[in-house]
Symmetry: C2
Subunit: 427 residues, 2 copies
């Protein structure tokens, strides 16, 4: 292994006995006459003799038809109208860390609008020396940066506050994506508008809104605006998709997804938070005493096992098993992920595919053995601040059960002897 390997490394012999038993010993078996010949080996297959499809048929390619189940899912019951909706990344079927735009989670409040680059304008106004309006072509003239960041909806895992509700990682944890964003630092544009002559920045805020009818206005403290926010126009190398805010969206690393305003229209420098609809009646967490928490922007460290999981059961026999999942933190880089098979009684440290990167998804693996025993699978993430992902019980003690947003508790899958998995709650 060339990557860092923090967990126990299975021996080669373990795989020899395991994978070979599952089917990898077919050559030897056929030689001894012990098994039924596999026609996929013994007979010439049509794909080995004929011509496949030409590339001219796919100037912009789509997934093969056999993967038609690996798509975003919408659930009608979650929002008042399907036009005011949300959809879920099929994280149970993905691997690695990048989310393709075509199946990347997104949420919009009044539909996905179609806005040409030529018609795009971005205004910076309010407490600035020089209010400015930028065209798309203007934005392309400023120095750009690239960063891979996760974007998670504040409501991700929200239905689970009350107990195990949704049967699948896509639905419990799929309101997240992770893409390579390219854009201009918001700081650069604010400075262009003469912000640094506008007095003490510590007291200032920005109010950002989108071109869509909802406008989805949000207040952001100036310290964050000047730190790492990006005015982004590309994701995973290409233009943003319509539903991701084409042609320009705001990227607010590590902070809840609804602040990543799409179809970005205006950034107003103000002297305090605006207390808009989206940050008062929505996107707030009500505690047991009826009082709501103030300013819950950062997405705390969290993780989920994507396979095995309810939508990705174990379908092979006993022996080697790869347990894998995703971890992330809005406070910085993931430093460690532990996996439990017994509902949190004992833990094994998983292997991180790559060292954790700030505010980006980290893939973890536990290369292990399974012989049909029941498992209560859990993962728990730790980030560079020393924070450890809490249990649901710990979170409820502090937050009560009124919340919809900011549920970053440890998730449990019950894996049965037949390999199927179910969303359960352990106490």
């Amino acid at each position: 292994m060339t990557t860092s390997f923090k967990g126990p490394k299975p021996s080669r012999r373990q795989f020899l006995s395991g994978a070979a038993a599952a089917g990898a010993g077919a050559v030897a078996a056929q030689a001894s006459g012990a098994a039924t010949p596999d026609p996929l080996i013994t007979e010439v297959q049509p794909w080995a003799t004929g011509l496949g499809e030409g590339v001219d048929a796919t100037p912009y390619g789509l997934p093969i038809k056999y993967e038609s189940h690996v798509v975003r899912r919408n659930v009608e019951w979650l929002t008042a109208d399907t036009i005011s909706s949300i959809n879920f990344t099929p994280i149970h079927a993905l691997d690695g860390t990048i989310t393709p735009q075509g199946c990347a989670f997104e949420r919009h409040h009044s539909g996905a609008i179609e806005l040409r680059k030529e018609d795009y304008r971005l205004m910076i106004n309010g407490l600035v020396d020089k209010p400015l309006i930028f065209t798309y072509a203007d934005l392309e003239r400023f120095p750009r940066e690239q960063h891979v960041y996760f974007c998670e909806c504040a409501a991700n895992t929200g239905m689970e506050w009350a107990g195990a509700q949704l049967n699948g990682a896509q639905f419990t944890h799929g309101m997240i994506h992770n893409m390579e964003y390219t854009g201009v630092p918001l700081r650069t544009l604010l400075q262009e508008a003469g912000l640094d002559a506008a007095g003490d920045l510590e007291d200032k805020w920005i109010y950002v809104e989108g071109h869509d009818a909802s406008s989805n206005g949000r207040s952001i403290p100036m310290s964050k605006a000047m730190d790492d926010c990006l005015v982004a126009f590309k994701a995973n190398g290409e233009a943003l998709r319509k539903e991701h805010g084409y042609p320009v969206r705001l990227v607010v690393p590590g902070w809840e997804g609804n602040m990543w305003v799409k179809w970005l229209r205006r950034v107003e420098v103000v002297d305090g938070p605006v207390e808009s609809r989206e940050e008062t009646s929505k996107y707030t967490d009500t505690l047991a005493n009826g009082i709501s928490r103030k300013w819950t922007w950062v997405m705390d460290a969290k993780s989920v096992i994507t396979s095995p999981s309810p939508q990705s059961p174990i379908q092979h026999g006993h022996g080697p098993l790869v347990i894998t999942g995703l971890a992330w933190s809005g406070h910085g880089a993931i430093t460690r992920v532990d996996v439990s098979k017994d509902g949190g009684k004992t833990w094994e440290t998983a292997r991180l595919a790559k060292p954790g990167e700030k505010m980006a998804l980290t893939r973890f693996y536990l290369d292990t053995t399974w012989n049909g025993e029941e498992m209560l699978l859990q993962a728990r993430a730790m980030d560079e601040t020393g924070y450890v992902q809490p249990t649901k019980e710990q979170l409820r003690e502090i937050r009560g059960e009124n919340s919809i947003y900011h549920n970053n508790c440890i998730q449990t899958w019950h894996v049965k002897p037949n390999g199927e998995a179910e969303n359960v709650e352990v106490s």
Copy 2:
């Protein structure tokens, strides 16, 4: 800037005079009554009042219609039949480093076949203790790795040997993609077949072939097979696309793309190179004396400016200009990229968006100023071995002009006063 910044950093004042002149001063201009009011600012637009499209319409999303020109291109004249063809990544229109699968370069020799995971088999045979056949499910049980790697066709830039031929970075340099691959190290599967008991590995080779009719057989020395080759099943998080080898392809980091065998069928351990059609009559470089170079696998360090370029002219006024492009090396990480505006007489060191990663595309930027002067734009890449990308003249001196493959010379774009760019050759 939070990223490394190796080039000269333009001052803020530079942008104030530049971008504002280009249109970003509209607010001030309107306030003074000097400019025609912009109806996109002064009038309420339809996208701000109506509902956009719902997400249920896009379970797997495609680019917005306004980006329909950002697609792979095929050229009929390059290969004998369109079914035996190649296509080009629209690198002139992308930014960042990740190539979306939907527009990622690929080449196939007998069409893109459709092979279900259930019908997939991978045989390892030849000089091994225990010949094995793996199903797709077997492969998923071995420890996986993830790496972002570039895949470049040996023929990329091949038409340029004889002089400036093709007008656009997509056609001169677009036979390349860069994706996050997930798979099992080939080493792991070879060890599973008992390779380490098969004698001295240094003398051994593997011969790999695909399930398609062409089989595209290639010989690879064992040292590379045991080093970093991946048996990959995901790219950018999701299943490989059909045309990229669904469900399984070989990844041979830094080596020419035709060795990345798609629809991987068989890995035979042999005691020497097979000298197959694809490594004798094809994919060899004939020198001026008529003798062909032997074993030209590694793709040497190379770079190209993607914008401005013939397909991406300068369309804004004078002032700030972002020059950007891609650099890569099959020998390791890119350490530096220089940009010349005068055909190689003087050079400025570009800013790398991130530190170079081994055998992966690196994005570079030169944040500069342009006042309508003619430019002969060039980029030259350097890698961690100390290698410097050569000029076409230097390459011709060694290789002559008979070659098709392995042209990694410095490319020149002639930018005219009107912002248009043309592929030219400088001596």
